[in-house]
């Protein structure tokens, strides 16, 4: 999952990015409205944390322009103003949620998770694909009741595939949603992580769930009889 943090206060922005990365999100930072605008036009994000008071171009304008372009990326507005008018204005323009500074980290995380879930039409914080269970709140994964321990990156990959359950996801898409601008990697790294994930999620069990679509990408689906499968 990749998140854009648009916040001009350097300490806050860096702490947000660090905390989110440690939660397994890929994070891009924008220090002002213009940069946020540019990043939004050139990248796909799963969620945007948008401070409303930004230099160059304020958060309202960034949000408004984004919605006018038809970009429906879930947006959590951060604001230091707690007036009802401000909230209404933000929600009218197309904010999906609102958080007043200062906020508790856990609350921010819960809201980000909820926004991403909602965008993928997942109602509960526990995502089930066949016998695979992903508890997004506790970041715990189990299959057939057996707990599977994943690294942050593996977890991010699995939860992204689970959000798009049954759809073919391209390698580039995965790479874009898992890695931020700071990562000096190529999309080949995706194959490596798919391999790690298979070893933990598929290998110990009788039926595989992670499928390769040659020339297209990967797909996570509930195990059926015998899907067409080819190793990478």
């Amino acid at each position: 999952m990749k998140i854009l943090v648009a916040e001009d206060h350097a300490t806050l922005a860096n702490s947000l990015a660090e905390g989110l990365r440690e939660e397994g999100y890929a994070v891009d930072l924008a220090n002002d409205g213009a940069e946020a605008d540019y990043l939004l036009k050139s990248h796909q994000y799963d969620c945007i944390i948008l401070d409303l008071m930004l230099p160059q171009k304020d958060g309202w304008e960034v949000l408004q322009d984004m919605r006018q372009r038809g970009d429906k990326t879930p947006t959590l507005c951060l604001t230091a103003r707690d007036g009802v008018d401000d909230r209404v204005k933000g929600l009218n323009i197309g904010a999906d949620d609102y958080l007043v500074k200062p906020f508790a980290w856990e609350e921010l995380m819960a809201r980000v998770r909820a926004l991403i879930r909602r965008a993928h039409n997942k109602g509960s914080s526990v995502i089930r694909v066949g016998d695979l269970e992903i508890d997004t709140a506790a970041r715990a994964v189990s299959r057939q009741g057996k707990e599977i321990t994943l690294t942050a990156r593996e977890y991010a990959l699995l939860s992204y595939l689970a959000m798009r359950e049954g759809q073919v996801v391209t390698r580039t898409e995965i790479w874009e949603h898992l890695y931020d601008q700071n990562d000096q990697t190529t999309s080949n790294v995706v194959d490596v992580y798919i391999g790690y994930l298979r070893a933990k999620v598929d290998a110990p069990f009788d039926r595989p769930m992670i499928h390769t679509k040659r020339g297209h990408g990967y797909m996570l689906a509930a195990p059926k009889e015998q899907p067409k499968e080819e190793p990478v």
């Binding site: 001009d8 806050l12 702490s15």
Partner: protein, 468 residues
């Protein structure tokens, strides 16, 4: 007000009624008694004259009247004086008028002294006492009094009712206005008192009240806005500290990471402290300047010191401050406020100067007022921003206070202090060329008698300008 007005109307009406009634009664009584007395007098003198004469037997007293004639020795005369025939009553004088009661009947009694003279000229002083029943007259007066009381009470009651109705009607607009005022509190300061329905006399008052509400509303709005802005400015650094600490504490960190966290938090806490200091300075500075705070100081030395501090701020970016000063500018003012004004203007000038730029501070006493000027060669201020630069938290780029710690409160503090000092600040700015802030505080230049006035003059050149 209404009660008092009604009571006043009633008191006046009732008083007039009472006085009128009494006057009518007294006049009627006096007139009737005078008429009675005139008749009694006539009868008394006639009887006295006739009493000793031969005709006496023919004179009969009217029914119920009484007649006494006394000589000088207060002996009651007999009906005839022996040896005296025709007599004349001379110089009759009423010495006593009075009412007397006898056997249930009230009499009007006149006592008359006179000389009873013989035809030959000898005269004897006598006292004539004549009484006549006044019962009829008194009954008449009693009836008059009753009628007067009845009419008086009726009028009094009528006026009381009328006074109540009239005062209520006359004061009804006040009630409406009172209700309107009663509904105004700090959350409904936009309400106004209806002026059109008020009587002409009350309109100026209502209009003044509305003007007062207008001022209050403006003040409240500004204060509310200021508070909202202050809260907003406080929240971002608090959020930064909170998030940084929370994220850091979520897992074990090495010493370098912890040091980094502490440094970042320190920066934000410093920012918070300077914000709070500034807000406190504003809160303290907002009240009007008091005389006891005023001191006689050398403004030249103060400004020079501020310029030196400003130069220290600009050292890193190679910004120079022209501070060539000699002599003194004796002023009586509030040194802390003056220092804050100068320091804020100078540090602003330094902050907005380009590296290698130059800030010039100049000061002079002109027309008994202190004038000083801070000119920079910085980025200047856009024309559309100029009217707003003295507003709290105004920043040209609308962003949060950034890491340089620029709060957007410096010029606001300048305004706060200048308001208290009775001074003003004017700005001239050309984007890309620089800005000049000019402060004038009237009437504070007071060279002490005997103090080096000549020295002062030599520093103030022909145009009264001096470069520090």
């Amino acid at each position: 007000m209404r009660r008092r007005l009604a009571l006043a109307i009633l008191a006046i009406t009732w008083g007039m009624l009472l006085l009128g009634g009494i006057a009518v009664y007294v006049v009627a009584r006096q007139t009737l008694l005078a008429e009675l007395d005139r008749r009694l007098f006539e009868s008394a003198t006639t009887l006295a004259a006739l009493s000793a004469g031969e005709v006496t037997p023919q004179v009969a007293l009217p029914e119920g009247d009484r007649f006494l004639l006394k000589n000088a020795h207060r002996q009651t005369e007999e009906r005839s004086f022996p040896g005296i025939k025709e007599k004349v009553v001379r110089d009759p004088k009423i010495t006593h008028r009075g009412m007397a009661s006898s056997e249930g009947t009230r009499y009007r009694t006149l006592t008359i002294t006179a000389l009873l003279a013989e035809r030959d000229g000898t005269a004897v002083p006598v006292t004539i006492v004549y009484s006549r029943s006044a019962e009829y007259l008194l009954q008449l007066l009693t009836r008059l009094a009753l009628v007067l009381c009845g009419v008086g009470v009726a009028i009094a009651v009528a006026t009381a009712v009328a006074a109540r109705i009239i005062s209520r009607a006359a004061l009804a607009p006040l009630d409406t206005t009172a209700d309107a005022i009663g509904q105004i509190d700090e959350r409904h300061l936009d309400r106004r008192i209806g002026v059109d329905d008020l009587p002409e006399e009350l309109r100026p008052m209502a209009e003044r009240l509305n003007e007062m509400l207008e001022r209050l509303q403006k003040g409240f709005d500004q204060r509310r806005q200021f508070l909202a802005n202050a809260a907003h400015e406080l929240r971002t650094p608090v959020a930064a500290v909170l998030t940084t600490l929370e994220v850091t504490l979520r897992r074990p960190r090495d010493a370098a990471a912890l040091t980094n966290t502490l440094k970042n938090c320190l920066t934000d806490v410093r920012l918070l402290r300077s914000l709070i200091d500034t807000l406190m300075e504003h809160a303290r500075g907002e009240r009007a300047a008091r005389d006891e705070e005023r001191q006689r100081i050398d403004a030249a030395a103060l400004l020079k010191h501020c310029a030196q501090l400003g130069a220290a701020l600009g050292v890193e970016r190679d910004i120079t401050i022209a501070d060539d000063i000699a002599g003194t500018l004796e002023v009586v003012t509030h040194p802390e406020r003056l220092r804050s004004v100068a320091m804020n203007l100078i540090s602003n000038a330094v902050a907005y100067s380009r590296p290698g730029g130059r800030v010039v501070v100049s000061a002079a006493c002109r027309d008994k007022g202190l004038e000083f000027r801070v000119a920079d060669s910085g980025q200047g201020i856009a024309a559309e921003d100029l009217p707003h630069i003295f507003e709290p938290f105004f920043r040209a780029d609308k962003a949060h206070m950034n890491q340089t710690g620029h709060l957007g409160l410096g010029l606001f503090l300048v305004r706060t202090h200048l308001d208290a000092l009775g001074g003003r600040c004017t700005v001239q700015s050309t984007p890309g060329v620089g800005s000049t802030f000019e402060v004038r505080i009237d009437g504070c230049c007071e060279p002490k008698a005997g103090m080096s006035a000549a020295g002062l003059e030599s520093n103030c050149h022909a145009d009264g300008k001096m470069t520090i």
